[in-house]
Amino acid sequence: MNELQIILTETSARLFGEHVTKEVLEAAEKGAWPDDLWAAVEENGLTKPLVPDAQGGAGAGWAEAFVILHAAGSFAAPIPLAETIIAGRLLSLAGIDTPPGPLSVAPVGKAETLRLEAKGGGRIGGAASAVPWGGKVEHVAVLAEKEGELHVALIARDAYIAEGDRNIAGEARDRIIFDDSPVVAAAPAGDGITREAIWLMGALARVAQMAGGIGRILAESVRYANHREQFGRPIARFQAIQHQLAVLASHAAAADMAAESAALALDAGDAAFEIACAKVVTGEAAGLGAAIAHQVHGAIGFTYEHALHFITRRLWSWRAEFGAENAWAERIGRDVAARGADALWSDLTARQAG
């Protein structure tokens, strides 16, 4: 880790540890906005790692965004931090100032098209579904077409309608509707800003959050197994428990490696392969890890009272968002098959040579 990553890791862990309490998590699920948590995150400069210094951001990269999102996932922080970070990236590449407050991005489904009006471009129409935190944020950054060209536009919350869906973790996944809505700012999309880019950044963000969450449920499961006694001894002494936790640990490690490697790859350039691999590996680890953590925790982990589900319900949601494992695996498999069996090793070693 570089120095900034270390500082951000420590800051994030301290801040989330202090503000993401069980009460805050429960209240967030009932629809309350965690003011103190958001204020602390914003004051500590965790919301704009990818926005350049000159535009009021940290001017860092995905390596740094990764450690912030990893920590957010590990604490199940109930705020649109991933979405705010991606929106900031989108806006800054288009030369639009990133406003303070929570942000989201749209569209996140590939087939949907938003349109800026041809003349002036000050108004937008169309709808986008499953927008994370769509109704909870203060602004949304969108990709929209104007006369066949992609633009980035910033729209304030009071200018669009949000119809509330929620994922199983209680996080808003809203359909947002623009009906001749005014935009705060719009500009031609910068280089490399496409729907695919949003999809990749979204997948990377979920991967980072999942890796953090999986690490957390491993730590919680180890702690629980060491304390919970059955048949006169801690259940950690039973081989059946030890072996399950060893498997969980191996997947947690794989998730971390895949996720961080994907973040570094995106800083270096094209990271479609690494992000695809990471979404597959981390998604598999999320499903398997959640199952093991619950098995080890027994009935208490199935209660609402116990906090384990705040992580596991997020893992089950996040692994499907921005493309589930199979969607990414198919991309990888198709490319590998097209390149041919004998290219696999040389392609892999060349890609990972950095």
Binding site: M1, L218, A219, V222, R223, A225, N226, P234, A236, R237, Q239, I241, Q242, H243, L245, A246, V247, A249, S250, H251, A252, A253, A254, D256, M257, A258, E260, S261, L264, F273, E274, A276, C277, A278, V280, V281, E284, E325, N326, W328, A329, E330, R331, I332, G333, R334, V336, A337, A338, G340, A341, D342, L344, W345, L348, T349, Q352, A353, G354
Partner: protein, 382 residues
């Protein structure tokens, strides 16, 4: 629970430059090697090949020049190993000595032992086997019974070692032998010896495996004289030495590439008509391969930095072993062709070989159950 951290590591330009040399060498040397021969991975044996690898300076790469080593980095060594494995090169003859016997002697051996044993290993001319398990012992190494009794100028060894890979081929065995007993400490009283496999009193009996190969053996010692200067490290310190040795054994690319040839043949097969189901299955495997490779490089990076990543090595072996065994299972799921021992194409033959051989991938070098217990200890489960 302590922190588990796989620091991302990129291979340096010097290591990448070496890759091209190794590929060129392998293309020239293994040109007519068949898919099924390559599928044997690091259990394939070819003395001529090992000598050529030694001549290129690719055995004992990180060892001191004083013993004929090349003082190259752990990352350069990593590149050589993974290129050999990806190509399915017959590295078995020198593999054990390069991976664990040489490093063990560097760490615990005497100066005379290093001077005598390392140079021929580095030339690819001296092969080692590892005598650990025994009848009725399995993975429980503290219960071994082969014993060495002190005599004038040396030790008299009696007992039996079992499952010893390549004992019929090796020049020396590094054997874990009982030299004493402590009723309060079952790990005490064990010692490691270098045993010349040409000594009188040694009988090597090959044990056919279920594929019909003769890879592992029963080795019987009857009053075998082992000179004093063949004791490794301190008498009675065998347990801690073996523990360190096994940690070396766990971390390399040989722990996730053993079924690599089948993945290649599977891709060749599905590329003929890539269905959605087949591309998903292959895509998932490639994602795991890419991640395992990064983890393995990360471990090599930690070793290069002077750390002892025992837990990380165990985690890579755990994931790698499952991956190596999943490849034949998934190949069966996706293609459904009957594995053929004779006839058929490369895919059928390689599938047949690895369906059978992969059973051992979670047994050799310590069973999966032992490995998971080691990880559990690393997680501070108590």
């Amino acid at each position: 629970m302590g922190t588990i951290r796989f620091e991302p590591c990129t291979l340096p330009p010097a290591a990448e430059a070496l890759r091209a040399e190794v590929r060129e060498f392998l293309t020239a040397t293994l040109g007519d090697y068949s898919a099924i021969e390559r599928a044997q991975s690091w259990t394939g044996t070819d003395a001529d090949f090992s000598r050529k690898v030694g001549a290129r300076g690719w055995i004992g790469m990180t060892w001191p020049k004083a013993y004929g080593g090349h003082e190259r980095s752990a990352l350069e060594r990593y590149v050589v190993l993974e290129e050999m494995l990806a190509a399915g090169a017959p590295v078995a003859a020198h593999w054990v000595a390069d991976r664990q016997s040489g490093p063990l002697l560097l760490r615990f051996g005497t100066e005379d032992q290093r001077k005598r044993f390392l140079p021929p290993i580095i030339r690819g001319e001296s092969y080692f086997c590892i005598g650990m398990s025994e009848p009725d012992v399995g993975s429980d190494l503290a219960s071994i019974r082969a014993k060495a009794e002190k005599t004038d100028g040396g030790w008299i060894v009696n007992g039996t070692k079992l499952w010893t890979s390549k004992a019929h081929y090796a020049h020396f065995m590094i054997a874990l032998i009982r030299t004493g007993r402590d009723p309060d400490d079952r790990h005490a009283g064990l010692s490691q010896f270098l045993i010349d496999m040409g000594s009188s009193g040694i009988t090597v009996r090959p044990i056919r495996n279920l594929i019909g190969e003769e890879q592992f053996n029963e080795v019987v010692f009857e009053d075998v004289f082992v000179p004093d200067d063949m004791l490794i490290g301190a008498a009675g310190a065998g347990w801690s030495q073996v523990t360190a040795e096994l940690a070396l054994e766990r971390s390399g690319p040989d722990r996730y590439l053993s079924s690599y040839r089948l993945l290649v043949e599977l891709i060749r097969e599905i590329a003929k008509e890539p269905t959605e189901r087949a591309t998903i299955g292959v895509g998932r495997l490639v994602a795991r391969l890419a991640t395992l490779r990064q983890m393995s490089i990360s471990v090599a990076g930690m070793i290069e930095a002077g750390a002892s990543p025992a837990l990380e090595g165990a985690l890579v072996k755990e994931l790698g072993g499952v991956f190596e065994q999943d490849i034949p299972r998934i190949a069966h799921d996706l293609i459904g062709a009957a594995p053929l021992a004779e006839g058929g194409g490369d895919f059928d033959r390689v599938l047949a070989y690895l369906t059978q051989a992969s059973v051992a991938f979670s047994l050799r070098g310590g069973t999966r159950e032992i490995l998971r217990a080691i990880i559990a200890r690393g997680l501070e489960l108590r």
